[in-house]
């Protein structure tokens, strides 16, 4: 494993302090791997040649053309500035949960930061919205490096807590975002399924492309507690005493049915849905994004 690529592992990344470094390391690590991937060269589309002018970096001179024509020309690439991406981070109490070393919110933050970094690097505009039961932060999309630092700082300062009201928040955002773009949702989606789907449809109705990263802890899928215990809800503080061994089967069945149905409903409405657990390396999500990005053209 190359030195950059180890930063794709969330647990390794959690040891770093600064979010901008985290984002850069993730993307660098991701791109290092990408050179050997089918997505090679995707991010920069050739546009035209122009004559070399003083001030241009000598490394940008196309030496093959110079060999043929004896002229110094610079290879120009088309800039993709037409994509506006909106990253929506769920910062509700349930995102605080972890059975491992990093919480779902931390994972969502790393992913959001990495995506922002990648988007800005590709000259796309990135906007950010964080929400709990209400919309907490909203940063309109821009593509400048300065904007990236604003976004990263905001991500770094997210404080989890409160209840979830996904559908309401999504409806508000759908109304708020005027220009069509790519809406990337990072959430555990613990809310009424029908209402959430309805809200996602709202985005689609506004002609947005929607990419949902359903972020979960592995234990939320397996329910691998071994002893009887009291579970306290991180959002509502309600408590349930239970023996996990007894209800595990039923729980897993319920969870499986929930995700299958959610995935199916998303597909019906042309929404990209990706279930991700916090133990999965971050490049997986980045691939999903790039795949979506490639489809957008």
């Amino acid at each position: 494993m190359e030195s950059y690529q180890r930063f794709l592992i969330p647990e390794v990344l959690a040891k770093l302090k600064r979010i901008d470094i985290k984002a850069r390391l993730v993307v660098e690590g991701f791109l290092t791997g990408l050179h050997r991937s089918p997505y090679k060269g995707f991010s920069q589309e050739f546009a035209e040649y122009r004559s070399y002018m003083p001030g241009d970096e000598p490394k940008r001179i196309d030496w093959k053309v110079y060999a043929k024509t004896d002229r110094f020309v610079i290879r120009e690439y088309e800039e993709e500035t037409n994509l506006k991406a909106y990253i929506l981070i769920d910062a509700s109490g349930s995102m605080k949960y972890t059975s491992n070393k990093i919480t779902k919110l931390e994972y969502a933050s790393y992913l959001a930061a990495s995506l922002s970094y990648l988007l800005i690097k590709q000259r796309d505009s990135v906007g950010l919205a964080t929400f709990t039961s209400t919309l907490d932060n909203y940063i309109p999309p821009r593509s400048t490096p300065v904007h990236l630092s604003v976004i990263l700082r905001t991500i770094d300062m997210i404080q989890p807590g409160g209840d979830t009201n996904l559908a309401n928040t999504f409806h508000k955002l759908a109304e708020k975002i005027k220009r069509r773009g790519l809406v990337i949702i990072l959430s555990d989606l613990f809310d009424d399924k029908e209402k959430v789907i309805s809200a996602l449809r709202h985005f689609r109705h506004k002609k947005h492309e929607v990419l949902v990263f359903h972020i979960l802890d592995k234990n939320e899928l397996d329910f691998s507690f071994s002893q009887p215990l009291i579970l306290r809800d991180l959002e509502t503080s309600k408590e349930v005493t239970l023996d996990p061994r007894v209800i595990r089967k039923d729980y897993q069945k319920t969870v499986h049915e929930f995700f299958s149905d959610f995935k199916r409903r998303c597909r019906e409405h042309l929404i990209d849905y990706h279930k991700i657990t916090t133990d999965i390396p971050l490049d997986r999500a980045l691939f999903d994004y790039l795949e979506k990005r490639s489809r957008l053209g």
Partner: protein, 648 residues
Amino acid sequence: MGFFAPTFLFLLSLASIPLIIHLIQRIRLKKVYYSSLFFLTETKRETFSWLQIKEILLLIFRTLFIFFLFFSLTRPYLRKKIFSNQYEASRVIILDDSYSMGFNNYFSDAKNTAKKLIQELKKGSEAAILAPSENLKTNLTTSLIGLEKTLDTITISYSGNTLESIFEEGNALLMNSALPRKEIFIITDLQKRAILPVIDKLSSYGNKAEITIIDISKNNEENAGIEKISLSPNLPTQDFPSKPQVQVKNYSTKSTKRNLLFTLQYSEPESLIQNIKTEVSLSPKETKTVPFEVEIRKPGTYRATAMLSTDSLRLDDNRFFTITVPEQTPILLMYENPADIQYIEKALKSSYFNVNTANIKTLRQQNLKRYKAIGLFSATALTYSDWQRIGYYLLEGGGVFIAFNKEIKEPQWTKALNLDLSLTGTEAVIKSPGFVTIERVNYVNPIMEIFRDVDLSSVKFYSYWEANNLSQSQVLAYFSSAKPFLLEGKDKKVLVALTTFDVQSTDFMFKATFLPLVHRIFTFLSFPSFRQEYQVGDTIKTQVLTSVAVKVITPNGEFIQTPIVEEGKTLIKLSDTNLPGFYKIGNESFVVNVLAEEGDLTKISDRELKNQNIKVINSTNGKITDLSRISLLLSILFFILELVLLVI
């Protein structure tokens, strides 16, 4: 409800363990923050409900499992009320403690019934408890709680006493009571031999007190026991050694097969002779005699124990036996002419007798106490005072054999010897055509028993004395003229032969039967004069030759006892014989056994009871139901239920 083992009651507190564990678990239950109960609330509500119910059921089953397990250890019981109302009365409770009550748990049932009878009395009542073995005898008392406690101390006796004498005592107690209502309760197994004497007495009893019999028996009494240990032949001699035999009886109506262990040993020095185990098959009601191939011949004291493999009534399954075979026995033969004893002397000298001879005229100079037995072969010269002297000798345990050669001059001699005998003639009778033979023999007698298969009719008697009026004496053999040949005094220590052992009178001396007969006569006479076998509760009475204290050994232990003088004899009386087993007073050995008949559990018939109009309460009235087994079964049931619940 009561408890036979209340000391275990504290264990019931352990039933709270599952509840405590449950509560501790709840308190110490790990609290985990979880993202959302979103999916848990989605999980079927029924699952949670069932889980909660299951948890509660498990807790209940576990608690009940432990509770009933320890509850069974306390041996709980339920007791029905005997009477619906409490009232004031003077109540005598006769608690049958004869050993037949040791069958199964009869006695503990009887004690509990007695307690109930006391508890159900109204305040101001008085009660007394009497047991036929006299292990428990109280006066009428109003301290009923104390009386109840007294009951706890009583254990079953080894006695086979019937109930009539204790019934009379109870009746006498009630006569002194001032309370108008008088009652006698007899708690018994209704064994026929115990209760029948009471029933017989009741016909002339009148209505002095209300009598109720509480029957605590069941109807499935099956029992076998040892009736006796004996020797065959009864009298062991050098030439005819005896073999022990054990008589076993099956009292039940079913066949049974038992192991019988017989142990024979010398008592001094103590050494095992033989230990034999055999199996005995007994048909219903069968009595079987089991012989053992071991000889009792040598002088010394023998001890034997027979043990039958136990049944529900174990007290009659053991029996003890002892016999002392005399060592070199000193005897004195007295004659007028030496020819009178020549054949007898020869016959005895060859055996283990230390034979001394003397002229009968020297009787007054002889110290008779030195001899175990004396033989008088000419009594013509003896005066009444001589006969009185012989009478004292008999009282001190000696044995006397008399064979006439001439008429006895002293007419009162039979009175001096306490003999019920009169002679009809003054001369020996000469029988025509010349002789008589021996015809009828009492083979039951230990002297004669060995001649059962021997022809004695070849013995000829040419002359003999005719004797009559023998109502209290036992005739051991008759002449063919139907007159007695050999007779035994009623105290069994005087034997009289109505003939003279010379060639003019008989040819018996030349017959093979002569020697064993003479041996057995003198062995019988010199055998210990005391009784060696007693029953539980009897008083052992034995003469000792010293006035200083003697050592007494009983199954309870050893002690020293000083003899008493009674009717000119120095005696040891031992009345504490409540335990069966071996006893020893000085050098003499005894055994105390239970009364074999008490092992017969045959109940009195309903008809016999009805005829006397006696109120009989079945054991189910006031009956104690032992709940131990039910409790244990419930414990197992709850354990199984718990397992089932864990599996599903």
